[in-house]
């Protein structure tokens, strides 16, 4: 008796799973169908409704996204706050790296992607209707971990490490391999004698990263010596030389620098601030020593105010004004503009993007973490482009 009950339950469970898997696998949008039926009984066409979102049950629209870790601190705050703005939609953004985000949106396993790395011409062709929407600008800052050769006075303030553009290139080219190299000492007279005679361990990303793309594009602009290219994934000369380490994600690089003495790495500014890591000050193109913060990022953005092309892509490294931070970049959302089939989801995504760009609390959250919001002119351009998104031929929202 007990055994046949067990067998029956088991068979029912298997059957249920097989049915749901087969049935739902072919129609991933079926789960939202009931809600549209409830609301559009008189309009069998699949126009998404402009009706108030309160009629959608909480958590009924699931949006899956992934991409760079560059904006991850902000995006997690935004998606967390957005569930209170619009409880019907659940946005799941995974920090898997810009490369994985691009790959996901290209093979349609993600609903939208976040990337600081630009799509190549091939990828635009492959994706057919992809559009990049800039959301924020942020700074990539070199961070370091030094065990000083002698102790500082208890009361003295440790001066910030200063590097110039050529020296940074030389470090990552494995031309400058020790911390007390004359080039570094020359830039830091106050640290002479404190810089240890130790090999520099250069930490870089092990995954395909927009942060790397911004950093390497900056290195390319800094000096003709950098020949590895400016892309999301490069062959690091420091690896060849034996003093490179790869970390996964911005957080992996930060953790690697924190755990490795006498190392240098590059991370997005918010990671350096959140972990109280010592940051490098750079001598920019104008010859001035700058610290990475919202002002220097804004100055750099201003240098390239008209640099957006038709695709809304822009590279803004190595600005020429006095106060500009040379390693800055935009981060983007990537979305299919015409080929989305789930119109409820499409309208929710566009609503989220618009909220993120226009809502003041969203902007404040970003600023608090060290990012810069878009200048108003650019933001209006982006919103204009968003209105061109269509689903099944009808404009979304």
């Amino acid at each position: 008796m007990r055994k046949s009950l067990f067998v029956t339950m088991f068979v029912l469970l298997v059957a249920a799973m097989v049915l749901t898997a087969c049935g739902q696998a072919a129609t991933p949008t079926a789960t939202t169908a009931p809600t549209t039926e409830v609301m559009n009984t008189s309009a069998p066409a699949t126009t998404p409704m402009p009706a108030p979102t309160a009629t959608l049950a909480p958590g009924s629209v699931q949006v899956n996204a992934g991409g760079g870790t560059f904006p991850l601190p902000v995006y997690t705050q935004w998606t967390y706050a957005y569930q209170y703005v619009d409880p019907s939609v659940v946005i799941n953004y995974q920090g898997i790296g810009s490369g994985a985000g691009k790959s996901g949106i290209l093979d349609n396993t993600l609903d939208f992607a976040g990337s600081d790395s630009l799509l190549s011409a091939d990828q635009y062709t492959q994706g057919k209707d992809l559009q990049m929407y800039p959301t924020l600008a942020g700074a990539v800052v070199p961070v370091y971990n030094l065990s000083w050769a002698k102790a500082f006075d208890a009361t003295a303030k440790i001066p910030a490490l200063v590097l110039d553009r050529q020296t940074l290139v030389d470090i990552y080219n494995a031309k400058v391999t020790k911390w007390n190299d004359p080039a570094i000492v020359k830039l830091n007279p106050g640290l002479d004698g404190y810089l240890p005679d130790a090999t520099i361990t250069a930490v870089h990303r092990s995954d395909g990263s927009g942060t790397t793309e911004i950093f390497t594009k900056a290195l390319t602009a800094f000096s003709a010596d950098w020949t590895a290219g400016g892309a999301q994934s490069v062959e690091w000369p420091v690896d060849k030389n034996g003093n490179g380490i790869g970390g996964k994600g911005n957080q992996g690089v930060a953790a690697a620098v924190i755990n490795t003495k006498n190392s240098i790495g590059y991370v997005e500014l918010s990671y350096a601030i959140a972990n109280s890591m010592p940051m490098v000050s750079l001598v920019n193109k104008a010859g001035k020593t700058v610290v990475a913060n919202a002002d220097s990022v804004a100055a750099d953005m201003a240098d390239f105010a008209t640099a957006f092309d038709d695709k809304l892509n822009a590279t803004i490294v190595d600005g020429s004004s006095d106060g500009s931070w040379p390693i800055t970049g935009y981060t983007y959302f990537i979305l299919h503009t015409t080929s989305m089939t789930d119109c409820v989801k499409a309208s929710k995504i566009v609503e989220f993007f618009t909220w993120a760009l226009t809502d003041s609390s969203a902007g404040q959250a970003a600023a608090k973490l060290g990012y810069s919001v878009l200048p108003t002119t650019v933001r209006d351009q982006v919103i204009a482009k968003l209105s061109a998104v269509t689903c099944d031929g009808q404009p979304v929202k």
Binding site: V234, G242, G244, G246, K248
Partner: protein, 333 residues
């Protein structure tokens, strides 16, 4: 038709006969499931083979061969797998070298010397070591094992071999402060494969008939001489099989290795520097490989891994089977 007793009986018999065909669908089901398992194995190999076609045709054999200057360049689409093959082989072989003596010692202790009351708990404990998930090993590795054990060992090795000609290249470069290095991966792999090798070796030793031990002891050998000179050679093919099983596990281990090896496509052969393994590069780069050649190269690495572990498994099973076949007892495989 007349409704008579015999007719009803005939009908019931016909009805009952329906269930006598139950065996054919049953056997059909069994065969179907067995074919499913076969298809799975073939399917994995085929899918890997098919999806790596692009990189196989672009690079040919040079993808695998050792090169002085290997490149793994997604920007220029030039890929060579040698650094990863080297990393995998090095870490696995060093892990084996460390694990074999320890595992043999454990197997001997558990099979020959352990008092009966201690046997079951000790068996459990050793197998419990195998049950710890790989990520937990990695977590413990990053924060505890590496700074407290690997870095001091690495520093000691570095200073010991710094000036020895020939070996100094193998122990070159100071170990990174965090301990992330091929040495760390080897040590953690050794800990992870010890349960595998010792469990199978213990079974092999248990399968040797007591007559061998009795004869040896009767001739006046000490217990150690019996073990070392009689039992181990007798079970050597089985123990070799156990070792190869452990090697297979070490080759495929992903998570713990990725967390402690430093993920650096290094040019040096040194064991003290960060490195990369085949499983790690797939774990790190597959999700983001956009270009077809990049994806195909990663899948080709997966295919190499599959073929390696497949061949090792086959050899190991044959060896273990050959020793247990000599004896009537059933040995757990």
């Amino acid at each position: 038709m007349k409704i008579s007793k015999t007719n009803i009986q005939k009908l019931l018999k016909k009805f009952g006969q329906l269930f006598n065909h139950g065996d054919r669908p049953w056997f059909g089901l069994l065969i179907l499931m067995s074919i499913l398992v076969l298809v799975l194995m073939v399917g994995i190999g085929y899918l890997l083979w098919r999806d790596s076609a692009l990189s196989r045709s672009s690079f040919g054999l040079s993808f695998l061969l050792p090169t002085k200057d290997p490149s793994w360049d997604p920007v220029n689409s030039d890929f060579q797998a040698w650094p990863f093959i080297y990393g995998t082989l090095l870490t696995s072989v060093v892990a084996l070298l460390i694990a074999i003596p320890i595992s043999l010692g454990i197997a001997i202790f558990l099979a020959e010397l352990c008092p009966a009351w201690l046997r079951t708990p000790l068996n459990w404990l050793v197998e419990l070591l195998a049950a710890i998930p790989s990520v937990v090993f990695g977590l413990w590795g990053i924060f505890i094992f590496l700074p407290q054990v690997v870095t001091p060992i690495g520093n000691a090795l570095y200073s010991a071999f710094k000036n020895v000609p020939g070996l100094s290249a193998f122990f070159a470069g100071p170990i990174p402060q965090s301990g992330s290095s091929r040495l760390a991966a080897s040590l953690i792999l050794a800990i992870m494969i010890i349960p595998t090798i010792s469990a199978v070796s213990r079974d092999v030793l248990n399968a040797i008939p007591p007559s061998q031990r009795e004869a040896s002891l009767a001739l006046g050998s000490t217990q150690w001489e019996t073990i070392w000179q009689i039992l181990i050679p007798y079970g050597s093919s089985g123990i070799l099989g156990a070792v190869i099983l452990g090697l297979g596990r070490a080759l495929g281990e992903t998570m713990a290795v990725t967390m402690v090896i430093g993920n650096s496509i290094e040019g040096t052969i040194s064991i003290l520097r960060p490195g990369y393994t085949m499983a790690s590069i797939i774990a790190n780069e597959f999700a983001e490989a956009v270009s077809k050649l990049h994806t195909s190269s990663l899948i080709e690495i997966g295919f190499i891994l599959f073929v390696l572990t497949l061949s090792l498994n086959v050899i190991a099973r044959l060896l273990v089977w050959s020793v247990t076949r000599k004896n009537p007892q059933e040995a757990r495989s």
